[in-house]
């Protein structure tokens, strides 16, 4: 009979060799293989018909795909070096994207411009499984800020090259893009204006307010409570509530209309987005300043710095990582929230999201949602790296 110790050891033998996450990744990927790889639709609105991987691709490509995927999954399931898992999952993701393009090319009828090839549930599952593996490998390797920025740039260049090469042009989402390219770029610009404009405004207002809250503790709880309530108000309600006063200003304040203030459109959206963004900026500025070691501040005082000099040369630089964290939060938040501006005529990528939802056209929704998510993700990675870099500088 085995002692408890021996049973424990033999149970952990399996654990030592097999990666449990890899098992999940494999299960998801295998499920993905049996679901439609792409979807064939007679036109852009009707529900389509799913086509599995082996039927959607030329035989040579299907065999290569299965062999390739199999080897990636073996790497996923074994406990091997993180770098190997990272390379395997990255190559796998690239291959799936290229295969989707190839499938769309293969299946598109020559003479039928109405027919659409959409991405099937199986492809999504494959992408999900490989992205899981990639995320796990990346988070275990814990790359430094420059590596993260480099990887982001690399991923953007690769994806841009794929889009530019035309490999995916037969895909339905790119056909949606093709039929409204000017509108897409216009709304993207508007989206960026809303998101970055509101973040700039909120930083410009919020940092001084945060400094004031730090200096004058009497105003602290009042300001924070007010901003907390503003952040709690649902976006559509805040957009709506702002319509009335802005319409009044547009009608009654001379010159307001000429600088673009009106009841609906960009003005209420910009005001609401700025208002939402204030709380994280003010709160993080305050936390950053109060969190400084009193000895540092005392030393600055002891060396005869005026309070303005202390703020510029000592307190703000040291509080910078915390303030940047606040800015990262609001940038990611406002890139997402800007989609709602479309509801009050403010434009932005939300226009496609809501149009697509109204027409149940998933490709149109994706045309709005995918760039939004990509923007928010890129912003999160970039600012996260800046925060680490500024924290390194503040430490040394």
């Amino acid at each position: 009979m085995m002692t408890i110790l021996q049973t424990a050891n033999s149970a952990s033998f399996v654990r030592r060799r097999l990666d449990p996450l890899g098992v999940v990744v494999t299960a998801v990927a295998v499920a993905g293989l049996f679901l439609p790889f792409v979807i064939f639709k007679a036109n852009r609105i009707v529900p389509g018909e799913g086509v599995p991987l082996w039927a959607a691709l030329p035989v040579w490509a299907a065999i290569a795909a299965l062999v390739g995927l199999g080897s990636v999954l073996v790497i996923a399931m074994l406990r091997v070096r993180g770098e190997l898992k990272l390379a395997a999952s990255g190559a796998g993701l690239l291959a799936v994207v290229l295969l989707i393009g190839l499938a769309a090319d293969t299946m598109s009828p020559q003479d039928d411009s109405l027919a659409r090839i959409g991405i099937g549930a199986g492809s999504w599952l494959l992408i999900l499984a490989l992205a899981l593996m990639l995320t796990d490998a990346l988070s275990r390797l814990d790359p430094g800020p420059w590596t993260r920025i480099g990887s982001l740039a690399f991923a953007m260049v690769v994806f841009g090259a794929i889009l530019g090469s035309g490999t995916l042009n037969e895909l339905s989402i790119l056909k949606e893009y093709g039929s409204r390219a000017p509108a897409f770029w216009q709304e993207t610009r508007r989206h960026l204006e809303l998101a970055f404009g509101s973040v700039l405004l909120a930083t410009g207002i919020g940092v001084p307010v945060g400094i004031a809250c730090h200096r004058f503790s009497a105003m602290r709880s009042g300001v924070l409570n007010l901003l907390n309530i503003v952040q709690t108000i649902p976006s559509i309600a805040l957009f709506g509530i702002l319509i009335a006063p802005l319409a009044w200003i547009a009608a009654n304040v001379p010159g307001a209309r000429t600088i673009g203030i009106s009841g609906i459109g960009m003005a209420p959206a910009m005001v609401a987005l700025t208002a939402y963004a204030l709380l994280p900026v003010v709160a993080n500025t305050l936390v950053g300043l109060t969190g400084l070691a009193t000895t540092t501040v005392e030393a600055a005082r002891g060396m005869g710095m005026t309070s303005g000099q202390r703020l510029w040369h000592v307190e703000l630089p040291l509080a910078m990582p915390v303030i940047l964290t606040g800015i990262r939060i609001i940038l990611v938040q406002n890139i997402g929230l800007s989609t709602i501006a479309a509801l009050i005529g403010g434009g932005g990528l939300g226009v496609f999201v809501f149009q697509g939802a109204g027409q149940t056209a998933i490709d149109l929704v994706l045309l709005g949602a995918a760039p939004t998510v990509a923007l928010a993700f890129a912003a999160a990675v970039l600012l996260g790296s800046f925060i680490d870099l500024s924290a390194e500088r503040a430490r040394t």
Binding site: T3, I4, L5, A8
Partner: protein
Amino acid sequence: MIEICDVVKSFGDTRAVDEVSLMIAPHTICALVGTSGSGKTTLLRMINRLVEPTSGNIRVDGRDVMSVPAYELRRQMGYVIQGHGLFPHWTIARNIATVPSLLGWDRRTIDRRVDELLDLFQLDPATYRNRLPGELSGGQRQRVGVARALAAKPNILLMDEPFGALDPVTRGKAQEELRIIQQKFGTTIVLVTHDMDEATHLGDRIAVLDKGRLLQHGEPADIIANPATDFVRELVGTTDRAFRLLSLATLGEHVESGTADGEPLEATMTLRSAYSELLWSGRKAAPVARDGTVLGIVTLDGLGRLAARP
């Protein structure tokens, strides 16, 4: 009786505990002493299986600890850690009642036991029963920690730096209290400490560990007098070892015959305190008394002979 036989614990390539064998007699206090990283805490935690040995075995009262489920084993032993580890969301009474409740004692027995222990540790039950740990002082929390460990009347009490977080005055009181309770219940105590004073003061026997190995195991007087290695000598300290030796015995055990003038000294006083007292009052000798009855005298010369290298 705790028997530790050839126990090894490896974490990766390092051996935290390296072939340690140790016998701890019932009703005694054994102090495990060492610097941080010496393996003393790991050794203690193997007794209640918070850590499982890589090889070797540990028997408690003749039974291998690996032969019973860990939770059952742990309920039979008290366990006290540094920083007390009280459950902050439970009242003092519920904290003390933890193990009795796990063992399924009935409510009235538990309540009675809780009050008994609060009394024992001089915490008024009516006042403290329903307080939360956050409302107590550090010293009080530490006492509740020990009371909780004793709640189910265990034969064995494992203590990991139990007094580490206390200020010197509170610490001294807590040590006295522990000695009294140990004598009263005859509990076997294994105490981990890095403080040689605490070890010589409380331990019936001391085990010195370094880098996972047991360097020396013996009575405090023996360890002070004949340190086995340079490391042990350093730990014991060379400048005040004579005083350490004196602090191990009380006046009552070394009464000389004769007479002396002045205020008598209590027989329960340690020899070290008596020595200091004689120097301070400028006397060469003083009477020794127990409960007002003079037993004999103590002399500076006599103490000097006792403090010399045996």
